[in-house]
């Protein structure tokens, strides 16, 4: 009997949800067809409203029957008002195309920010559109990571790196995605630039912590870069040339076929620093052979109004390559001897990412949306160096030839294949339920090969060969439950199975929001975050070019982090957003590479093991962040302040502050519209000095030469270092400025933009580290004490360029 009652109840709920009144559809830009996220869609004179998602999709449920007025609004666009008539059980599909408007600063235009504040439960989340990314003055070109580095809670290790250290988490603990595909080394030029071409970015969704059960596999932050879909209305493009690189963006509609329509987008860039420098350096000098390039493409195909297929591809490489040869000849009549020889040297070193993905979105019903995603992401670096010496000789009646080759190859490949499905269900009033599964297979291949070949001998050695394959399977479920108009609870959990471990992991995620007033909200977030891969890079390295990714082994416990975040947000009437957050994170089961340990010798012999030995590590981080942000008006920008501390523990060192720990950080970013089409931007970044390990003395390291004749004992000079990271470098300070001017060409009438930027206007010396040298009395040659100087980061840099649109 109970069974019958329960079944009947469930059926009633299901039928009632299916039969309730629903309005759904997409909100897009009328000129380009690009989806508009966080557009406010609501029923006039009611509490029914929702914000469109990243793909522009919205669904309003439980609409009262009768004559209603639906309103759609978003900052920068003309508001749409439409009268509709709703019958019982009716579902209405309404797609909106919104026109951009020039007027800014009106109250209605801040609904975008207000919607985000109203809709988002999790704290620590920021959506950056292209305009925000381009607000800050940039080095050569706008860069997404460098913009994010100026947000509260995000640290930078030095000017040469765009890697993100977020609230005590290291870059490998952040999940960086492009359209949902994981990118494993999202940097160019060793981290000076990120791998994301801003021309193709629609928006970037950044979670500094406390992210929902939808995301997993990382302990730190989430960054999902959403690329443009392409103009559905007409073909257009832009071309950007600067003193260092060129970028091109092309987009347009697909030809309509059998009722299907869609769009495409193609973007690419290449640096030509190598060409520039080689023009200046002539003669026999070694040519400079470094450059990077990347391209990405996207094709969207709307099979019908409920089915969409999207194919996305990215390819990017940094390349160092050179090759040179010289010949040598010797001839002696007296000795009746001659020799001819040719020596060749080559270096080829590409490193980069390649991704492919196919996404199928299916609107099963107005309240149920399914998204299935297949993706492959491959990162690899392959350092190949070779020498060849070949020749011939003759001495009297004797002669011979020789050919010796040496090849060295060092590579790391990570290949990620992922399948995932997500279901979003708006079937129950006041609930937004999302669930899904993900299977991720990752292959690691790290190796080193030597080969030496002569005319009759071939020796091959592979001292390093580490191959592994792991599978992560996850199941998640979350519900965003609006308890009242003012209180929202977001509960979720993620179950994970890791192929190397026997246990099943569970990560709970809890979010709570209290909307005290229309413009003031309080948020709380708690969660656990597991991670099953790590990088084996030295912790003290000054400049990281590549990452060595490894999966957690069977013997190692899975690292995890717990996040506790409390925050408040306030949106003022004159477009200022104020956010204040405090957080605490602790990390368990971390591992830190033992540095300098290249070989391990034991009973089985000597093995090359640079990535095998780790210290068990734990850590914690806490902080207070404040953000003042203005998104509309003639002056836009933000002021961010962070007070934070991060501490790590390794038995050998005890507790210490890692290199990315900064006690105080202040970032001020501003973009001012001087006149129409002329913008002046500036940024100020200052922070406490970075921890470093000081040299405190000098001593002799004893050495032994185990000569078979007689052991010989000597020494080399070395620095005695103090406690790890016990001192601080000088505080960091930098001011950047830039101008951008848009105009139309007088001859060809093509619109273009020119820009001029100065990085580090004051030429302040920011210390990367210290270099030491002996102080010498120039008169007597006597070696006195030791002196040091800062190894500088960026000096004053001036960059400029043009961007054309067509």
């Amino acid at each position: 009997m109970n069974y019958i009652i329960r079944t009947a109840l469930l059926f009633t709920i299901l039928v009632s949800t299916l039969l309730s009144q629903v309005i759904n559809g997409f909100v897009r830009d009328d000129a380009t067809g690009e989806p508009l996220s966080y557009a406010n869609v609501f029923i006039k004179d009611s509490n029914i409203g929702v914000a469109s998602g990243v793909d522009g999709y919205y669904a309003l449920t439980n609409i009262p029957i009768g004559e209603r007025t639906i309103i759609v609004s978003i900052i920068g666009y003309t508001m749409i008002t439409k009268d509709i008539s709703i019958k019982e059980g009716e579902s209405l599909r309404l797609d909106f195309r919104m026109s951009a408007e020039a007027i800014e600063g009106q109250r209605v235009d801040v609904f975008g920010e207000a919607q985000k504040m109203r809709q988002l439960v999790e704290p620590s989340r920021i959506s950056l559109d292209l305009r925000t990314i381009e607000t800050a003055p940039a080095f050569i070109e706008p860069d997404l990571f460098r913009t994010i580095q100026m947000l509260p809670g995000v640290q930078t290790i030095n000017d040469y790196s765009s890697a993100l250290y977020v609230r005590g988490s290291t870059p490998d603990q952040n999940l960086i995605m492009m359209d949902g595909i994981t990118i494993y080394n999202p940097y160019h030029l060793g981290g000076i630039f990120s791998t994301f071409n801003t021309s193709s970015i629609k928006e970037a969704d950044f979670h500094a912590g406390g992210f929902t059960a939808r995301y997993g596999g990382r302990m730190g932050a989430i960054l999902n870069v959403v690329t443009r879909e392409g103009n559905t209305e007409k073909f257009e493009g832009s071309y950007n040339v600067s003193s260092m690189s060129s970028k091109v963006l092309l987009e347009g509609p697909l030809p309509k076929l059998y009722g299907m329509k869609g769009s495409w987008m193609l973007a690419g860039r290449r640096t030509y620093l190598d060409q520039f420098i080689n023009l200046l350096v002539r003669g026999d000098d070694l040519p400079f052979r470094y450059y990077f390039y990347d391209y990405q493409g996207k094709v969207n195909l709307d099979i019908n109004q409920d089915h969409r297929l999207t194919y996305s591809r990215f390819y990017g490489d940094d390349i160092v390559e050179f090759s040179f040869s010289d010949t040598y000849s010797e001839y002696s009549v007296v000795e009746d001897y001659e020799q001819n020889e040719e020596n060749t040297t080559h270096l080829n070193w590409p490193w980069g990412n390649k991704t492919n993905s196919l996404t199928w979105r299916w609107l099963i019903s107005p309240k149920l949306v399914a998204r299935t995603f297949l993706a492959n992401s491959r990162y690899r670096f392959d350092f190949n160096f070779g020498l060849q010496q070949k020749g011939d000789w003759r001495e009297g009646s004797e002669s011979g030839t020789y050919n010796e080759k040496f090849e060295f190859d060092f590579y790391d490949i990570i290949n990620d294949n992922t399948i995932e499905t997500e279901l979003s269900w708006h079937g129950i009033a006041n609930h937004q339920i999302m669930g899904g599964f993900q299977i991720k297979k990752v292959e690691y291949d790290l190796g080193m090969d030597f080969e030496f070949e002569t005319l009759d001998t071939l020796i091959s050695l592979s001292p390093l060969s580490q191959k592994d394959q792991t599978v992560e399977s996850s199941l998640f479920l979350q519900d965003k439950w609006s308890l009242t108009q003012k209180i929202v609870l977001q509960l979720g959990g993620r179950f994970m199975d890791y192929s190397e471990h026997d246990e099943l992991y569970f990560d709970p995620r809890i979010g709570f929001k209290y909307l005290a007033k229309e413009d003031l909200s309080f948020k709380l977030s708690l969660g656990r975050y597991h991670q099953f891969l790590t990088i084996a890079n030295p912790e003290d390295e000054t400049w990281r070019i590549i990452d060595f990714w490894l999966g957690i082994t069977e013997e190692q416990k899975a690292p995890y982090s717990d996040h506790y975040i409390l925050g408040l947000e306030y949106l003022s009437e004159d477009n200022w957003l104020f956010r204040c957050e405090t957080y605490y994170k602790h990390f368990e089961n971390l591992i830190t590479l033992k540095q300098g340990q290249l070989f391990t010798e034991d009973e089985s012999g000597a093995r090359f093991t640079p990535f095998n030995e780790f210290y068990p590590t734990r850590a914690y981080a806490y902080g207070l962040e404040m953000l003042y942000k203005k998104t509309a008006g003639r002056l836009r920008g933000w002021i961010g302040y962070t007070y934070a501390e991060t501490k790590k523990h390794i038995d050998k060192h005890g507790w210490y502050n890692p290199k990315y720990d900064r006690r105080h950080t202040l970032n001020i970013v501003g973009d001012f519209r001087v006149i129409e089409n002329l913008h002046f931007s500036t940024s100020l970044q200052t922070s406490s000095g970075q921890p470093h390990t000081p040299a405190i003395g000098r001593y002799q390291e004893w050495e032994v030469n185990n000569d078979p004749y007689m052991p010989f004992y000597g020494f080399t000079e070395a620095y005695l270092v103090g406690k790890k990271n016990s001192e601080r470098l000088t505080p960091y300070f930098r001011i950047d400025m830039g101008f951008k001017h848009k105009t139309v060409g007088k001859i060809l009438k093509i619109p273009y933009e020119r820009f001029f930027q100065i990085v580090n206007v004051t030429n302040y010396v920011n210390a990367l580290n210290y270099q030491y040298r002996a102080k010498v009395n120039r008169r007597t040659g006597e070696t006195l004490g030791i002196e040091r100087a800062a190894v500088p980061m960026f000096p004053t840099l001036i960059a400029f360029g043009y961007r054309w649109s067509f």
Binding site: S243, I696, G697, L720, F756, G785, E787, R788, A790, I798
Partner: protein, 313 residues
């Protein structure tokens, strides 16, 4: 505003065909000060081998702001010598080693000025040795070290002498040539690591690198770590370029050294696990103290055995 636009246009046009412009930053060198209190840095080795003397070197660490060397003016037999001598060497320490039965005071043995190499003064550092002939360390003995300096610093240490290596001479061939493969046999040690160094006498006096016209026996000089419990080693010439080099009659020297735990940890294990590693400073750390209390460095002990095989063309 129009003027501003024109000014910007002009600046951009002027720079358009140039490369990115930078302003150089002048490095400001500053004296490094630290409140480091110098510590004693010791290398002490007790040897049970008759050909290798036991010795102790007593150095101290230097602060960052003190000079490394002292200028010394010396007149000997009417000849004036002016040279720099390292400050880190302590020449007036009281160094005593003991096998718990007898104690032996080691004396500082300086260099002979007449043999002084002014090109490499840092090599002319002395050590403390025992000038008598009744100090005979034996395997298994526990030896202690005690050092005190006039400024009040002191270090103590302890080492247990390892068993002496024993190469099985009877298992070695009478001669060796280029294609030989030898299985060397020796006594295995359960608790101590040994190192075997093999080389030919000629390579000791002739540079090791490969040359077309050299008569060196490239590839013969090898070093192998012999772990606990291992009692044999297969030895053959390693690949080393052109194999057609001429051979001369020579002597293959087999040198086997056993070490105590302190010696092993300092020279083999510690070097693999630096506390700190940085491109600008290099590897380093707190120096490490093995078998010592009150200082850095090590106090260890060794034993040696040797064998010789004639090398035939």
């Amino acid at each position: 505003m129009e003027f501003l636009v024109k000014l910007i246009n002009t600046i951009v046009l002027c720079f358009l065909f140039g490369s990115c412009i930078t302003l150089e930053q002048e490095l400001e060198w500053e004296d490094v000060k630290s409140d480091h209190d110098p510590v004693l840095n010791i290398m002490g080795i007790i040897s049970s081998d008759t050909l290798v003397d036991s010795f102790v070197r007593v150095h101290r660490s230097l602060t960052m702001d003190e000079a490394r060397d002292s200028l010394v003016r010396d007149t000997i037999d009417g000849v004036q010598y002016l040279y720099y001598t390292p400050r880190f060497v302590i020449r007036n320490a009281n160094v005593v080693v003991s096998n718990q039965v007898n104690s032996y005071t080691l004396e500082y043995q300086s260099f002979d000025l007449e043999d002084f190499d002014f090109e490499e003064p840092e090599l002319q550092v002395g050590a403390y040795i025992y000038k008598g002939d009744d100090m005979n360390p034996h395997p298994g003995e526990i030896w202690t070290l005690s050092i005190t300096t006039p400024d009040g610093k002191s270090v103590t240490g302890e080492t247990v002498l390892p068993p002496k290596p024993q190469i099985n001479d009877g298992a070695l061939p009478d001669t060796f040539n280029i294609n030989s493969v030898i299985t060397m046999k020796f006594s295995s040690l359960e608790d101590n690591v040994q190192i075997i160094n093999i080389g030919n006498l000629l390579s000791y006096f002739v540079p090791y690198y490969y040359e077309y016209d050299s008569k060196d026996n490239c590839g013969l000089t090898q070093e192998h770590i012999i772990w606990q419990g291992v009692d044999s080693l297969v030895y053959q010439k390693e690949f080393c370029g052109d194999e057609d080099s001429d051979w001369a009659e020579d002597l293959l020297i087999i040198h086997m050294l056993s070490m105590d735990q302190n010696y092993y940890e300092y020279f083999i294990k510690y070097g693999e696990d630096p506390e700190f590693s940085n491109l600008l400073i290099g590897s380093g750390g707190s120096g490490g103290g093995f078998g010592l209390d009150g200082g850095i460095g090590f106090f260890g002990s060794i034993g040696i055995d040797r064998a010789f095989i004639p090398v035939m063309p």
